[in-house]
């Protein structure tokens, strides 16, 4: 009986740890970093020095669809 209890406790503890690690990873993937109220990254797990271009904000006002070629 004690052996079964010990194995069960270890299994529960492992499940809890796995859930916490998974949850932190999910939170990281889905959260956004705000600096002074502005989103600076949509994926905080991106390593520093990543060569990707991150567009934080875009504003465009043009008043015609006509194009000059």
């Amino acid at each position: 009986m004690p052996t079964i209890l010990m194995i069960s406790s270890i299994a529960v503890a492992a499940l809890v740890i796995a859930a916490i690690v998974f949850g932190i990873k999910r939170l990281g993937k889905n959260s956004e970093i705000y600096v002074a109220g502005q989103v600076i990254s949509s994926d905080p797990l991106d390593p520093p020095g990543d060569s990707s271009v991150i567009v934080e904000k875009d504003i465009t006002f043009v008043h015609t669809d006509e194009k000059i070629y």
């Binding site: 002074a36 600076i40 567009v55 504003i59 465009t60 006002f61 000059i68």
Partner: protein, 261 residues
């Protein structure tokens, strides 16, 4: 140094079409923050003014998609930026001239363009759209108008105060799409984190004073996109209340430090 950006445009109380075009982007490349902004004020009949201004904005937007041509070793190559913007303006000048010749009407656009990164910025200007630096105690015009009245001021024929109400204050000496050769001016300066950088069409600053610009766009009030938008909109409303007849456009960039810089 990171950047907040904000932009507002209004057709105004007189015109039925807004011929101004604007583009701004805050981005990071290799973790380096960059702010880019451009304001173009189109002119010409038969809907050609807004086509001319949009064409230059579209060309600059396309240019932004190829940072490998102007960003290297973790920083902006400002010399390459100046060279490539020059090519864009010359190419657009030629295209707009051809396009308006086909339509049988003259059309063109002014342009003021700003790019800041790593505590430095470059400003390009053609015509009378302007770039300003607004610090805690003063408003400084970075760009210089290519206009008849500015030339008269430079020659000492009239004062800057007389230029504000001169009957020829809207006469341009340069714009993109009219003359065969376009003269482009550049300024390279340090970017101050406690200042606001503002680009605007002439419709935004005809009837407001520099003290009013300082009051509504003071760096201490420009804490984020919402407060920046509110300041811009108050000045647009003031312009309209005072009877400004042109389209009214403004774009602001507020650098700020973060994370132990």
């Amino acid at each position: 140094m990171n950047y907040h950006i904000s932009a507002s445009t209004d057709v105004g109380i007189r015109k039925s079409v807004n011929q101004d075009s604007l583009f701004a982007r805050a981005l990071r490349i290799d973790s380096t923050p960059i702010a880019f902004a451009a304001v173009c004020d189109g002119m010409g009949g038969y809907a050609l003014g807004e086509v001319a201004s949009a064409s230059v904005i579209n060309a600059l937007t396309q240019w932004m998609q190829t940072p490998e041509n102007w960003f290297e070793n973790g920083s902006v190559n400002f010399k390459a930026v100046e060279s490539q913007w020059t090519d864009i303006v010359r190419s657009q000048n030629s295209k707009i001239r051809q396009y308006s010749a086909q339509k049988g009407v003259k059309a063109g656009t002014t342009a003021t363009v700003f790019l800041s990164s790593n505590h430095n910025h470059i400003v390009m200007s053609v015509g009378d759209t302007r770039a300003y630096e607004i610090s805690n105690d003063r408003v400084r015009q970075i760009s210089k108008d290519q206009t008849y009245v500015q030339r008269e001021v430079d020659l000492g024929h009239i004062s800057p105060q007389e230029a504000r109400t001169h009957p020829k204050q809207n006469v341009l000496l340069q714009c993109i799409g009219i003359l065969e050769n376009v003269v482009i001016n550049f300024w390279s300066e340090p970017t101050l984190f406690n200042s606001v950088y503002m680009l605007c069409s002439d419709g935004f600053r005809h009837v407001v004073t520099e003290n009013e610009l300082l009051s509504h766009l003071h760096p201490s009030k420009m804490t984020g996109p919402d407060t920046m938008q509110a300041g811009q909109n108050r000045l647009i409303d003031l312009n309209k209340a005072r009877g400004e007849r042109d389209n009214i456009s403004v774009l602001t960039i507020k650098p700020y430090l973060y994370g132990g810089e």
